[in-house]
């Protein structure tokens, strides 16, 4: 008999007294004197999508790497559910329920979907033999929830479409009961239909009470899906705003000029519109 994994159940995630899933405080990372992330504080509630936007090199990805354990910060604190957390590597992050879906998908193209979902966390029998049927079964169940049309469970993921590959990447995060999801450009490589599929998925995961950091170049994605938006500029947070309080133009201005909406002058806005 092999251990059959339990269906991923939305367990109430731990939150701080103020209701935060995650609080990152005063986090800094520098690479050879360049402050990629400079004293950034950011937080996330359950059932919320926080959009993290900014130009190239604004520090979004580095900030999220700190949370997912792929980058050790020079300074700063991370609180998970109000408790100090020590995240030194991706394993630590996963233990705190943090899963990251990377821009490059981080899939092993030569392996099939179940092997990718369980990459680094393979199910084995008591004698240490891989339990492929159990992994396939669990993958089928997660996929039934995420992408019911997904069929190719025994095919190398290299031969799948972009949307199917994205489903595999998300299944990997969801199967292990993540409470905090980091999605780095989740729709960057997808066609319109597939993008819509992923958007629906994000809304669904939000309903289930997950907290999601959504990093994207696509301002429309972020604007449509997020409750709040944090704008980064040269390694710092310009501002974190409620999505309902701002227009897309204002967010764009923050990204490009690195200033809060009320600090932007008419002239600057004019220039912005003129340039494109």
């Amino acid at each position: 008999m092999s251990a059959i994994p339990q269906e991923a159940k939305p367990t109430p995630p731990p939150v701080s007294e103020e209701g935060y899933l995650v609080e990152m405080r005063d986090v800094s990372v520098s690479f050879g004197g360049v402050h990629a992330v400079n004293g950034v504080s950011i937080d996330l509630r359950p059932g919320e999508v926080l959009g993290v936007v900014g130009g190239n090199g604004a520090g979004k990805s580095t900030l999220m790497k700190v949370l997912s354990g792929a980058q050790i910060p020079d300074s700063g604190q991370i609180l998970i559910g109000g408790q100090m957390a020590s995240i030194r590597n991706t394993r630590d992050a996963r233990a705190y329920g943090i899963e990251c879906i990377y821009q490059t998908l981080a899939l092993a193209d030569n392996l099939h979907a179940p092997a990718n979902v369980f990459l680094g966390r393979e199910l084995t029998s008591r004698t240490g033999v891989l339990d492929d049927p159990a992994m396939e079964d669990a993958t089928r169940r997660v996929m039934k929830r995420l992408n019911p049309r997904f069929r190719n469970f025994r095919m190398a993921v290299a031969s799948l479409s972009g949307g199917q590959r994205q489903s595999v990447a998300i299944a990997r995060a969801v199967h292990f009961n993540a409470t905090i999801l980091i999605m780095d450009e989740p729709t960057a490589a997808l066609g319109p239909a597939e993008t819509e599929q992923v958007r629906a998925l994000i809304r669904q995961l939000k309903e289930e009470g997950l907290g999601i950091f959504l990093i994207s170049h696509d301002i429309h994605d972020v604007y449509d899906l997020s409750e709040r938006i944090s704008v980064m500029y040269h390694g710092k947070i310009v501002d974190t705003v409620d999505r309902d309080d701002v227009t897309i133009d204002q967010v764009l201005a923050m990204i490009i000029l690195g200033k809060k909406p009320d600090e932007v002058t008419e002239a600057e806005l004019e220039a912005l519109h003129a340039s494109g």
């Binding site: 981080a106 092993a108 392996l111």
Partner: protein, 442 residues
Amino acid sequence: MSEAVTPSPTPSVGDRMRQLPQSGGALARTADVDTRLVGLLVALAVIWIGFNIATGGSFLTARNLWNLSVQSASIGIMATGMVLVIVSRNIDLSVGSMLGFIGYTMAMAQTAWLPQAFGLGLGHEAIWIITVILGLVLGLGMGLLQGFIIAYGFIPSFIVTLGGLLVWRGLIFQYAQGQTIAPLDTTFRLLGGGPQGSLGEWGSWALGLIAVVVVIAGLLLLRRRQAKYGFQVRPIWATIILGILAAVIILGAVWVTNAYPWPENLAAQYARQNGIEVPPGGLVIPTGIAYPVLIMIGVAILMTHLAERRRFGRNVYAIGGNPQAAELSGINTKRTIMLVFGVMGLLAGVSAVVQTARLNAAVTGLGVTNELDVISAAVIGGTSFSGGIGTIPGAVLGAVVMQSLRSGMVQMKVDSPTQDIVVGIVLVAAVGFDAWLRRRST
């Protein structure tokens, strides 16, 4: 559980029989068998039949096939390890030199150190066991050392093992000073094959029958496990055909090895020693499966298990497919790479046992250019240099293909340089064909 997947309504066996697919590729896919492996088997059949015609029927004889199996063993054993090395996007150029160094050390141990320093008399029954263990531990250690430098020292494996190729070979010359060590321990020698170093008639049949039972049980067990989760199961006709095919191949191979009798004078000597009356026409003693071949089969089974059924193997393939993904998913990639080279070293130790035992000697040139044969076998067997792709049975078949080419050409009295030219062309052509197939399928 039952709602997890919706299996299509199961058609009866008759229905499935009627739905037999048309083309060969589709057939293989429906039967859930490795098309690449089937292709390799077909290529091997073509080579064998071709040589048999060209040599006027002397290629497909029990004697030649038995010899072929023994000659393929040493390269086949190491090729199984080279698959994992190449799958993980590395290379090991040092296996030939490692083999030589280990073989030399084992020869010294059994002829000088153990009998003299430790006072075990020549021919003591513990000598061969201690020697073999020493060889395996030494191989593992050398492999791990190279793997450690590669994984934790961030030096490309090409460079580290190129260094290894020079260093291990140089060390042999330093402490051997050109000498050949021979003869070796009489029990140790049996591991190299030969009439006495074989399983014999009944042992071979018994092993063959056990293998058939295990294969069929495995096929049925897989069906049951897949059915338990309601997955698509290989059609029953495919399971039956595969089972019959496996039985025929296994028992056929046993039959061939048993059809090769001991040489007459050896059989006569054996009869004299054991007081057996020699019947008219001479005593016929079937040889059976040679020990090196048994070792190769055992190694191939273990390595296949390691590669396909163990977390370690899965991680090696993941690293080959996408190193960053493997790292990000929490796989200890450095340790895994180091262990891959450890396994490779261990297998070089196993092959060193086989080769020295077969030669009944250790010479300074032991294992020279073996690394090229081993890499070629893995590559002909379908291992891809871009990483992440390759199978153990494929590599073993690759070794048999290589050896078949060489052996056939020797029988056709093709000179050695021409043999090299042919093998070289076949190698490049095989990889080119494989790459072409891969491009077409995606």
